[in-house]
Amino acid sequence: MTPISRAAPSGALAGIRVIDFGQMVSAPYCAKLFSDYGADVVKVELPEGDAARLAGPFPGDRPHPEKSGLYFFHNTNKRGITCNVAHPEGRRLFLNLLERSDVLIENNLPQRMRAWGLDYATLAAANPDLVVISITPFGQSGPYSGWNGYDLNAYHLSGASSRYCGRPGEMPLEHGTFSADYFGAVTAAAWGLAAVYGREQAGGGQQVDVSCAEAIAAAFVGGQNIGCYAQERRFDKRTGVGMPLGAPATILPCRDGHVWMLALEPGQWNGLRKVMGDPEWASLEMFQDMYSRAQNADVIYEFIREWTLQHGKMEIMEKCQAAGCPVTAVFTVAEAAAQPHLQARDYFVDMEHPQLGRLKNLGAPFKLPACPGGPERPAPLLGQHNGEVYRERLGLTTSDVRGLAQRGVI
């Protein structure tokens, strides 16, 4: 492929044109990774808007379609247009946009795309070079591909919660966020960007079919559990403890919150002993290696808890780290926000949004010194760039665009 010539490339993905036809988290976050690193991303919303606009969190808990935090976060650096793809004229416009794009990122259930007449065969016919990144809970094929589903369903289908998340006898837990959607989003970004980068190599565009459940079942659960199960027909379940094979490896309460208490290797254990002031119990024979400590987990966790409860988490973290022991404080979100380290690295960026005002946002997820990325422009208002994009991309006139709006197409 010939280099994309551009006088002043701005961002690593300069020159790549993306249509984001996603809602909520998975596809929008995947598209944000493209837009925050310099791709030209146009978000296409149905006239009623991305469902995230109704999901919040909202300032003061007052719902407003232009004030959703979830929408704001996942749509930075994008331009936004509306298009009613259920309307024949809207569908035509959408396909025309795709003819002039490199990538489509979407997370609609496959039956919904078919109902709109936007199945992959149609998209590929409109533009054979188009890379279509489809992110769904279950994927485009297989018996569950026609099922309704969300992040929650995908995560719990993967085996991750039953194995790793929760206490035995109690319900398995999700991971505190849209963890299946995020896992699917970064997976789709990596595989999808490769398909764009190597488009000539691969012989043209293609569909990149990401199932959030499958990505986690394979790369997270499968990596460490499937070989054993296939060979020995034996598998483990959640313990609620942390690491059952070695100790200490768990979350323990302290005076002002919690710490991730980890001291497995001998040097780490000795470091922890020193920080605890070399208590007498710590020299007992049964505590001298991580395996026997794990066999006596109840006893040792009781002892360590007595100590952690008397100290603050930052103090415990600092002293343990200095002693070579990988103990960390469990930061709350507010504490993570106040962290000098993240501030020193300029991880947070102040942004201005016409409806939300000024707010502190998370910045680039990784640093590219030669071509810095990260959010700069706020998420678009609904249909904010209709005039601009339809004129620039499809050559429509201002009165064409007005007509489309009047006919309910956009």
Binding site: I16, F183, F366
Partner: protein, 406 residues
Amino acid sequence: MSKHLPLTGVRVVNFGWVWAGPVVGQTLGFLGAEVLKIESAARVDMTRNLPPFADGIPGPNRSLSNHACWAGNGSVSLNLKEPEALELALRLIATADVVVENFGPGVMERIGLGYERLREARPDIILFSMPAAGLYGPLEHVRTYGLSLTSLTGLDSLVGYKGGDPVPVENAFSDPYAGIFGAFAVLTALNHRRNTGQGQHVDFSQQEAVMQMVAPAWMDYALNGRSGGPKNNEHPVAAAAPHGVFPCRGDDRWISIAVCRDEEWQGLVAAMGSPEWAATADFATLPARLARIDRLHAHIAQWTRDFDDRELATRLQEHGVAACPVLNVGDLLDDPHFRARETFIEVTHPLGFRETIYGAYVKTSRSRPDVRPGPAVGADNERVFRGLLGIPDADYERLVRDRIIY
């Protein structure tokens, strides 16, 4: 289907170890890149000694999870404490596009492979570094395991039973997550190099990448000053009810049910046989259900407990309700969906044994990777040192004898 994978022709030298670094290379390998792990018999990667082993026989080339996480990668072995080995590594890097490492900050410099040195070998090289908390800053030398890295992002504070303490997630979700995310970062740098001819040193902080997952809670903090806590399986931004897992018949069987839209609620009510409680104003709208979510979930749990999880999922799906069985590890290999998608595959290792690993967990319509299990230590030594670098036979034999190539 074509074997023309998109990254064919890209060469990656991978110093990654344990899990996150290897997955960066594995992902690029699935996509067609030639990935060579540099390792040494002098200091064996700890995952190679991670049980279980093929046929139960321990050995660095028999760890089943290692074969999954290093699938598709090659291996060359060099004892980098030897100056001659370092020179060989640099000669190999001169032929490569990308170098991956997940040591702590400064380690690459210490072993003589800092970014400046790599640039001398290859001016447009991309060095991808992924330390726990980035290459600089007050926490640059923080010690974590993948298991606990999430504690530095706020994520761990959100996992657990409602109103209770945080419950530790028992494996490092952040490792494969950051690994796959890292492959995206490498690709952005490759694209920039294609646009400009310029390489760079990518500073990928696992903390910062993983913290993006906290965004829903982060936004509530940024907008309302609230710092969330554990809440079972409830929706991250309280936009769905019911939203949880509910007990089914049998030992530790559960079903996940998520209701975001009104039609889905109507479907659930119909599937439950329109019980009286569900017809009251208390549960008629999403805000009403959210306000009484504990009561709502208790009602549903009462109803689900007599059903088989799979039968109930099918029944709820017929009513348009997002519902799925909660699978355990033992269910995965036989699950019809994962079987149909060939999520897990049986392969033959070059050492002769059969084993099950995960395959291409993303389906690409134009090309399908040929998945091979992770390599034996030094499996590609001959091909790389004799073939690629053109080292004469006598020299090669001496280097092996002297444990430079080792």
